[in-house]
Symmetry: none
Subunit: 240 residues, 2 copies
DNA sequence: GCGGCGTTGACAACCCGGTGACAATCGCGC
DNA sequence: GCGCGATTGTCACCGGGTTGTCAACGCCGC
């Protein structure tokens, strides 16, 4: 991948500068815009590989920019940077159209992880692979993070917002053991008041939906006294 | 993980001293700085594993220090210590680029929790190295410390927390003869009440999992009348 | 109000660490 | 080489903490 071009559309000065710096030092070719109008202009004229798009913008909001980009049949991948909560319903209602989204506040690590995943997907799509943006296969299930759907053996099943966010987090940190606090911070947000047991509850629900045998989970594994560990391909829960 | 180095950049005397003390007694190798300039200097020259960074600093504020650190491609993890009260949105920009952040006032408990998480993440995921970090080969087995998992000739099994901690200690002190008390202090914590025999029990369990022939251990060797000795490559337990 | 979702408390099921008992082994003096 | 006490290996079991699961509640949008 030779120096991908990235467009940052973000009005908040400090964050934009930090993003631009970080991306440049990672070797990206960076464009920036502080409002929606200018952002759309640049997106259309420069056709960058990737757009980082804030939703709350002066002059033209993120949704409108995103729609315009998509209507123009632009190939750019779009990662939305949204503040927690508020926009969820709109995002979901709109079919979204973004390739991924990151909830503020986020870390460089997290953002780069998502960017890498998205770019890889885009790149891999060229040879005509049936890899569709945002779709991930887990055992006999398919999750589509850009359309917010979930199906198991072809049959459509619903995942709620929290379930989806939890699943996404697990997926992003596959293989690592994640303690409840860390999961809670990521999925529920910092400074959250709820019991760590809430995490268990949602793990339970997820297991019921995506495990073949919820009683013998092969994907969401519990590590006693520590937390949970996710495996996409599935593991035998063999004792020892 | 042997004695991680931590740099504390904090101008407020009392807090800095308290932090330094607490960290030292936790076994960290601690560096300290009372202003941003000195902090950056130390960060660049010493390249510690972890930096605890206050945002409001004399001479050079935390944001600037963080950017300088990142521009230097330093691998250090950074945890930002921010005061509550500043508007969240502005802080967001500052915190971007950090690996984690804690809001003042915080408890040492919370801080240590975050530090552990961050260090573990860093250790287990060097972005440049496709080589699986955080994994250690012992004879014909591979132990993955970040997944609490254990693999022997393709077959995977889990390790419990104590087993993992014991194994980690043995690994860190390979070749040395360790008496039970030393092991107990390290793994179970000082001032622990349990019988020295508890150590034996866990050695037994570990042997069963990682030795090819648990009856003739090649890695966890017993030194009669003294304690145990660990060998990563494996030794013949042949008598003479 | 109804239904879905998120959360909580309660309780059951389970796992793991630790213990005591006993067998096996070792070291040492003979 | 033998025997004995000390040390270590091993087993079964218990108790406490952790996790799984259910039912109920509050909240919100319809």
């Amino acid at each position: 991948m030779t120096k991908a071009r990235v467009l940052v559309i973000e009005d908040e000065e400090a964050l934009r500068l930090a993003l631009v710096d970080a991306l440049r030092s990672e070797g990206f070719d960076v464009l920036e815009a502080a409002d929606g109008e200018r952002g759309l202009e640049l997106a259309l004229s420069e056709a960058p590989e990737l757009v980082l798009l804030d939703l709350m913008l002066p002059k033209r909001d993120g949704f409108s920019v995103l729609r315009a980009i998509r209507e123009d049949r632009l190939q750019s991948a779009v990662i939305v940077l949204s503040a927690r909560g508020e926009e969820w319903d709109r995002i979901q209602g709109f079919e979204f159209g973004a390739d991924d989204y990151v909830v503020k506040p986020f870390s460089t690590r997290e953002l780069f992880g998502r960017m890498r995943a998205v770019l890889q997907r885009i790149e891999g799509k060229a040879p005509g692979l049936p890899v569709e943006a945002g779709k991930v296969t887990i055992g006999e299930c398919v999750v589509d993070f850009s359309a917010y759907t979930f199906e198991r053996k072809g049959a459509r099943a619903g995942l709620s917002r929290k379930e989806l966010e939890l699943l996404r987090f697990l997926l992003d940190h596959e293989g690592q053991v994640l303690d409840r606090m860390r999961i809670q911070d990521a999925v529920w947000g910092r400074g959250n008041e709820s019991t760590p047991r809430t995490v268990d509850m949602h793990v339970l629900k997820l297991r019921r939906k995506l495990e073949r045998e919820p009683d013998h989970p092969r994907h969401i594994l519990t590590v006693h006294g520590v937390g949970y560990r996710f495996s996409r391909t599935g593991e035998d829960a063999r004792r020892s």
